[in-house]
C-alpha cells in the first residue's frame, strides 16, 4: 500500500476523527481534569445510548430514509420492559430476559411498521416515522397511564454500573454493536446491497433485486437498536418513563451526519457514526467542565456541528483528488 492509498483510506473512513482528536487535545490543554480516566469513562457512558440508536439510524439514512420515531419508540420500549421486569409473578431469571425480549420486539415491530408502510405505499419515511413518533408516544402514555416505573430488581440494576478497567459495560455493548454493524455493512452481501440501493435504487431494482426487503429490514434493524438502547437506558438510570427520549432522534441524526453519512444515502460508515456520537459527547462534557453556561453551550455545540460537516466537504474533495 503506498502512502497515497493509506491517506485516501484514512480520509475516507475516519476523516472526521481529526475533528474529534483536535477537540480532545484542546480540552485536555484548557480544561484540567478533562483527560482523566474517570472523566473519559463518564463520557463513554454518556455517549453509549446515542451511539446505539445512531447505529440503527445509519442503516436507515444510508438508504436515503430517516427515522424520526426513535425517541418515542425508546420510551415505549422502556415502559414495556419495565412492566415486564417489575411483574411480581415472574421469577427474576425469566423476567430480565423477557424484558429484553419485550423491548427488542416492540422496537422491531415499530420498525417493521415504519418500513412496511413506507414501501407498500411509497411514502417518504419522514412522514411515516413522524406519524410513528406520535403513535408511539401516545401508546406509551396510555399503557403507563403517564406514570414512571422504578424500583427494578437490584440484580438488574447491578449490571448498569459494571465496568472493566474503567470502561463501562454499556459502552462495550455499544462498541460491539458498531463493530458488528460495520462488519455487516462492509463484508456481507446485505451490506453491499444497502450501499448500492442508497446510491442508485432504480439500477439495483432493474437488475432484478427486491429492494423493498432491504429497505424494510433497515427499519427493523433501527427498531432493534432502539430496543437495545432502551435496555441500556434502564441499566443506566434504573427508570422507565413515558416522557423520556424527547429529541433523541435529533442527537442520533446529528451523530450520523457528523460521522460523514450522506443524508441522500449511499455513503457513510458506522465508524464515522461512532466518532460523530463521541464528538457530541466530548463537546457536552468539555464545555460544561469549562464552566460555560447552558445558552453558550448550545450555541457552541450547534456551531461546531455545522463546522464539522463543512470540514467534511473539504475532506471529500481531497479524497476525490487522491483517488
Amino acid at each position: 500500500m503506498d502512502t497515497k492509498k493509506i491517506a485516501y483510506l484514512m480520509l475516507n473512513e475516519a476523516g472526521i476523527g481529526v475533528v474529534l482528536v483536535f477537540l480532545c487535545l484542546v480540552f485536555s490543554v484548557f480544561v484540567p481534569k478533562f483527560a482523566t480516566m474517570n472523566n473519559i469513562s463518564n463520557i463513554f457512558t454518556q455517549i453509549s445510548i446515542n451511539t446505539v440508536i445512531a447505529v440503527g439510524m445509519t442503516f436507515v439514512i444510508l438508504l436515503g430514509g430517516i427515522d424520526l420515531s426513535v425517541g418515542s419508540v425508546l420510551a415505549l420500549c422502556t415502559i414495556l420492559a419495565g412492566l415486564t421486569i417489575t411483574k411480581e409473578t415472574l421469577p427474576l431469571g425469566a423476567a430480565i430476559p423477557l424484558a429484553v425480549l419485550a423491548s427488542m420486539a416492540a422496537g422491531m415491530a415499530c420498525g417493521l411498521f415504519n418500513g412496511w408502510v413506507c414501501e407498500r405505499w411509497k411514502i417518504h419515511s419522514f412522514v411515516v416515522t413522524l406519524g410513528m413518533l406520535n403513535m408511539a408516544r401516545g401508546a406509551v402514555l396510555q399503557v403507563s397511564n403517564s406514570r414512571t416505573i422504578y424500583s427494578f430488581p437490584k440484580e438488574f440494576n447491578a449490571f448498569g454500573t459494571l465496568s472493566y478497567y474503567g470502561i463501562p459495560l454499556i459502552f462495550i455493548i455499544a462498541v460491539l454493536l458498531v463493530l458488528i454493524g460495520h462488519f455487516i455493512l462492509k463484508k456481507t452481501v446485505f451490506g453491499r446491497m444497502i450501499y448500492a440501493i442508497g446510491n442508485n435504487e432504480e439500477a439495483v431494482r432493474l437488475s432484478g433485486h427486491n429492494t423493498k426487503i432491504y429497505k424494510v429490514t433497515a427499519f427493523v434493524i433501527c427498531g432493534a437498536t432502539v430496543g437495545l438502547a432502551a435496555i441500556l437506558y434502564m441499566l443506566r438510570l434504573n427508570i422507565a418513563s413515558p416522557i423520556l427520549g424527547n429529541g433523541f432522534e435529533l442527537s442520533a441524526i446529528a451523530a450520523v451526519v457528523i460521522g460523514g453519512t450522506s443524508m441522500s444515502g449511499g455513503k457513510g460508515s458506522l465508524i464515522g457514526t461512532l466518532i460523530g456520537a463521541a464528538i457530541i459527547g466530548v463537546l457536552n462534557n468539555g464545555l460544561l467542565l469549562m464552566g460555560m453556561s447552558d445558552f453558550a453551550r448550545q450555541i457552541v455545540t450547534g456551531a461546531i456541528i455545522v463546522a464539522a460537516v463543512i470540514i467534511d466537504t473539504y475532506r471529500a474533495r481531497l479524497s476525490k483528488m487522491l483517488s
Binding site: N39, T45, R137, R147, L237, N246, G291
Partner: protein
Amino acid sequence: MKKFFAVALLFALALTMCGTVFAADKKPVVGLVMKSLSNEHFKKMEEGVRKYTEEDGSYELIARGMNSETDIDTQISIIENFIAQGIDVMCIAPADSMGIAPFVKKAVDAGIVVVNFDNPLDKKALTDNGLPEDFVYVGPNDEYGAYLVAKYMGETLGKGAKVILLEGSPGADNARQRQNGFLQGVEETGLVVLADQTAHWEIEEANTVLTNLLTIHGDEVQGVITAADGMAVGSIKALEAAGLGGKVLVSGYDNQDQVRPLLLEDKLAATVDQFGATNAYEAIKVGIRIMNGEKLSGWIKTPSELVTKNDLK
C-alpha cells in the same frame, strides 16, 4: 331540496337535544385547563380533581390537557372551545404566562368566570390585555417551597457546606421562582454554591450534567439541590456511579410517587409537596364563589410543604 330539509331537520334535532341537555342540567359547568397530561403532576391532578368532583357533586367538570408542556396552540384551542361551549367557570394553568393572557381576556369578555391556577399569569401581560393586575390566582408559592427545601439542606449540612444546584428549563416561570427560592435559602444558611446549572427538568440530562460537574467538584460537593424529583433521581444515579452514593445529600421537588422509596432508603433527603389536586379543586371552588357573586382577587396561596423521611411514617 329534499336534502336541504333533511339537513335542516337534523340541525334542528341536534339543537333541541343540546338544549334539553343543558336545560336538564342546572349545575354550573367548570372547565379545567391543565398543561401536559403526560406530566405526572397533571395526571395526578386530573385524577384527584375527578375524585373531589364526584364527592362534591355540585358542579360538572370538563378536564382538558395537552400533549406537551409547551403546546400553547392546543391550550388556546381548548379555551376557544370552552368559550364556544359557553361554560360557567374556567380554571386555567397557563402553558405560557404571557401568551395565554389575550385568550383569558376573550373568555372573561364572553362572561366566563376565569380563575388562574398552578402557574401565575404575567402581571404586565394581564394589564396589557385590559385585565386587572390582581387577577385571581390560586396556587402555591414556588419561591417559598424552594426556599424551604434549600433552608432544610443548609441547616442539615451546616454553614459553609458546598452544594450544586440543578434547575428547570430557563424561561419557565416556576423554574425561575424555584431558582430564586433556592438562592435565598442558600444565602440565609450560608451554603456555598459550586455550580448552578440547568438540566431542563430531564432525568437523563440531570445525570449527565451532574456526572460532568462531579469531575470538577466531586471531592468537595456535599449537597445537590434539584428543582424536580426526576432530576433528583438522575442525580442520585450519578452520585452512585461516582462512588459518592450516600455521601452527598440530595433534594428533589414535587413529591412524586417515584421518590418515596428513595426517601425511605435515605437516598433522598427532602422534597416539596405542592398538592396539585387540592390546588386545582381549590381553584374550582374559588371560581364557583366568584360566580355566586363574591369578590375575590389577588393571590390565594395554597400550601407548599417540606417532605422528609419522617413525614412518610
